[in-house]
Each structure stands twice: as C-alpha cells, then as structure tokens.
C-alpha cells in the first residue's frame, strides 16, 4: 500500500528531516510511527499525502509514485487519504457540521447523501449533538475528534493521523485510540504518529531517530 524507497527529505535551510528511509506498509495494516520531537514523524506522513515532496528516493502509494505526481493529479490522491493534522486545521468560521461536510463537497457528493454521512461520522466520534458548534466552542478533545470525523467521512482506504491523542487525558485518549482501532478493524490502513504508542497495542511500530529508522 505504502512504500518508501531510500527516501530523504531536506527542508530548505539544510535540515535533514528524514534520511535514507526505506519501509513498507501493507494494506489493512496498522502502524505507529514513534520518535522524539523533531524526529521526522510529521514529515513522513506529509510525504505520503504529497503535502511535501521527497528530496531523494521514491514514495509509492497504491503503486503510484507520489513525488512524480502532476499538480492536477494531487487532489485525487488526497481524496483517497484521510488525514488528521497535528494542528488539526479546522475552519474556525464554520461549524462542526460544515467542517466535516467540506471533504464531501470537494469530492462532489450529492448534498443529501453527504448530510447523512456527515451525521454518521459525527455520531461515530460522539459529536452528534454538537453539529452546530463552532470549533472554538469545542474542548481540545472534541476538536481532535472533529478532525477525525472530517478525515474519515469520505471513507478513505487509508488514514494518517498526526498526534491525534496529544493534550488529551488518558480516558479521552483511549476513546480516540478506540476509534482508530474500529477503522482498522473494518479494513482501513492506519498510520499514526504518536509518542503514546501504548494506546495502540496491536500495531506495528516504526521508530524514528533524527530522521533515521531505528532497527
């Protein structure tokens, strides 16, 4: 499903975020990417969704070379991937319902079917009663869950989550982890960048250290 082949990523001033990284993630697998702050976890996820492009090496997603993708092909790659960003990237002037609706509008879903899906996704993360709330009216944990609802509403075959349990108390974090397990159980490939690897006991781990894979 995902394959990194000798991938390096250097950010402009000369920071090597990832160097010579090779690994593979099979379909329906659940993988936790660990490592210290600045190890390159976010960068790894961004390379998969082509938010950043590799400086060297190839990133294959579903057999497609992501770095070689034309600008016009990017949207279609991203629609197949559900992504939870470290900074969530919720739209502050739109309510919960509208935030979750956005990926469906983008994909061109019929409005009525889309509304049903949005409600189902909000229900799944326990926010069914908060659909009219603006993001600022939600607690940190609720915002995390809203971001997850937006990532999964499109029913992507692949879910990438960057620190989805940061700043959450143990109980809420376990709740969120359970949601990812549920998606894994129904066949979604899941990649989670996190310090809290213990929350995902069944997952395979990839440990990063200064942009290199720890064997």
């Amino acid at each position: 499903m995902i394959r990194f082949d000798r991938v390096s990523k250097r950010y402009p001033p000369g920071v090597d975020a990832l160097s010579d990284l090779s690994f593979e993630v099979a379909e329906r697998e659940m993988v936790v990417v660990g490592g210290h702050s600045g190890a390159g976890k976010s960068t790894l996820l961004k390379l998969i969704a082509a938010v950043e492009t590799a400086t060297r090496g190839t990133v294959l997603v579903g057999g497609q070379n992501v770095s070689g993708l034309a600008r016009s092909a990017l949207p279609y790659l991203r629609r197949r991937i559900g992504m939870v960003f470290q900074d969530q990237k919720l739209l502050l002037d739109r309510n919960a319902f509208e935030n979750v609706m956005l990926p469906l509008s983008i994909a061109g879903f019929p409005p009525r079917e889309a509304a049903q899906r949005v409600r189902a996704a909000l229900d799944k993360v326990g926010l069914a009663s908060r659909e009219k709330a603006l993001p600022v009216m939600l607690s940190g944990g609720e915002q995390q869950r809203l971001a997850i609802a937006r990532a999964v509403v499109n029913r992507p075959s692949m879910l990438l989550a960057d620190e989805p349990t940061a700043h959450l108390d143990n109980e809420t974090a376990a709740d969120v982890a359970r949601i990812f397990h549920e998606f894994h159980d129904v066949g979604v490939t899941v990649l989670i960048a996190t310090y809290a690897g213990d929350l995902f006991p069944g997952a395979r781990r990839l440990q990063l250290d200064h942009g290199k894979l720890v064997p």
């Binding site: 938010v51 983008i106 061109g108 019929p110 409005p111």
Partner: protein, 299 residues
C-alpha cells in the same frame, strides 16, 4: 446535473454570505465599480439619444434666405421666381412673415416680447434645397444669393447636422475608448478585491487543497464573488445613468427646443442595459479569474 447545480448554488450562497458579512466593504466596492461603469454607460446613453435626434432631424442641408425688413411682397415674389430658375436649386419654399409671426407667438415666452414691438419684426424668407448638397456647392449658392438686392441675410442651415454626424462618430470612438479603459479599470478593481478575499480566506484555501480540492473547486466561490460584485456594480451604474437621464430630461428638452428640435432624453434601452450588466458580470468574473490564477500559482 442536479448535483452539479447544487454545488454551484452552494458556491453562490457562500459568495453571498461573504458579501453580506462585510456590508460596508461591499457597498463601497459596488459604488466604485458602479461609478467606473457609469461613465461609459452614460456616454452610450447620450450617444444613443443624439443618434436618435440626428435620425429624426432632416439631414438635408438647406439655405435660408431672409428678405430685408423693408422689402414688400412684390420683391419677395421676384426673388422667389429668380431662385426657382436658378441653376442648382432643387426646391424653394416660401415662408411669409405673417406665418413666422404666428409661429413665434405660439411660444408663450416670446409672445409678450413680440406684442410689445410696434410691428412684425420678422421678414419674408425662403427655404432653398439644392440638387447638389455638398458643403462647397451650398456655400457657393449662399454666397451668390447674398449679392442679390433686398436679400438681407443668407444662412446655411443644417451644416450643423454634418457637424453633428462627425461629432457622433467621434463620440462613438470616445465611448468605446472610455469603455475599454474603465473596463480594464474594473478588472483591476476586482483583481485586488479578490486578492484581499483570497488572503482573508487563505486558511480555507489551504485546508481545501489538503483535503483534495481541485483549483476549480477552490476558485468557484471567488469567481461568483467577483461576478456578483461586477453585476451589482452594473446595476449601480444603470441606476446612476437612469437617474441622470431623468434629471437632465427637462432642461435638455428646453435647450433643444431653442433649436426647433424635440428631444425626450431616454435612459439606456434594453439592449444597452443587457450589454452593461453582461459586461459588468463578465469582467468581474475575469478579474477574479486572473487574480486567483496568480494566487494559486504562488500558493
């Protein structure tokens, strides 16, 4: 198709929401666009009226020959037959001084003045048309008539119609130039308004792109925003021009009546109104398109 329509309606709704979210901004933008468009539209309105005036006014140049005030009817008859036989003269129409007096008295403003005068202040006159009405020939004829006895004054009428014709051609060019210039101005206005909009909503643009939005999807609400602004500005321009036409109607009618013409100033006709609104909306769309193309390329 229904789905496609629903998504476009959604974009229109979003554009309207943004327009109404900053009413003062929107109002000022509409005013700026409206004033810019009102200039060429107003020019077109005046031009249309002038064209109408020129069409309904005889464009056949005439020579008016006025007898001296002390000439009697016998002399007038003599001049009439002389005019009739003169080479190059096509038609002679006699206008007696009595007729002129009656006609002038019909004007309530003039009546008191005329009645205060001891006698009939108007002379007998002839209106002469020529077989060849080129200005040079007409000038020659007029010069000849001026030599005749008891002819007080000879005037080349309708030379102004030719001048009007030339003036109208110039006017049309001027309106087109003005239209092109202010059309470009409109694109520039919309360009910067949309640039501001794109900066205001850059989080939304970025997130949409991360979630798989195509450039077309990102552009859509902004294009409608530009289009609606242009259309609204067009409506403002239309209102301005119509108000100006109403306001100028009475004084202008007075003015042209002095030249024995009738003119009821009309606002823009249906065709010109349609063109105005269509162009305004189209240019708004174009301005937004150019602005976003640049923005998305940078982003």
């Amino acid at each position: 198709m229904r789905v496609w329509l629903a998504h476009h309606l959604e974009a229109v709704r979003l554009a309207l929401r943004r327009l109404s979210a900053a009413p003062l901004n929107t109002l000022l933008s509409l005013l700026a666009i409206g004033v810019a468009l009102a200039l060429p539209a107003g020019g077109q309105m005046l031009l249309g009226n002038a064209l109408h005036l020129a069409d309904t006014t005889s464009a056949v140049p005439q020579i008016s020959v006025f007898m001296a005030a002390n000439a009697d009817r016998r002399m007038a008859t003599e001049i009439e037959s002389r005019l009739g036989k003169y080479g190059g003269v096509k038609q002679v129409q006699f206008v007696s001084r009595e007729d002129t007096l009656t006609r002038m008295k019909a004007n309530p403003g003039l009546r008191d003045v005329i009645e205060a005068l001891p006698g009939n202040p108007f002379p007998d006159a002839f209106v002469v048309t020529a077989t060849d009405d080129r200005p040079e020939t007409m000038e020659q004829l007029a010069a000849e008539f001026r030599q005749w006895p008891k002819v007080e004054h000879v005037q080349l009428d309708s030379a102004w119609v030719r001048r009007l014709d030339a003036l109208l051609k110039l006017g049309r060019t001027a309106v087109m130039l003005l239209g092109a210039l202010l059309g470009a101005g409109l694109i520039a206005i919309i360009f910067s308004i949309i640039r501001m909009q794109a900066l205001t909503h850059r989080a939304e643009i970025e997130v949409s792109q991360l979630l798989g939005a195509t450039d077309g999807f990102v552009r859509r609400p902004f294009l409608y925003y530009g289009c609606l602004l242009g259309l609204g500005g067009g409506v403002v321009a239309w209102l301005l021009v119509s108000a100006a036409a109403l306001w100028l109607r009475a004084p202008l009618s007075e003015l042209v009546r002095l030249y024995d013409l009738t003119l009821v100033l009309e606002g823009l006709d249906a065709r010109d109104s349609g063109l105005l609104l269509g162009f305004a909306a189209g240019l708004g769309w174009l301005g937004a398109m150019i602005s976003l193309r640049q923005h998305l390329r940078q982003g």
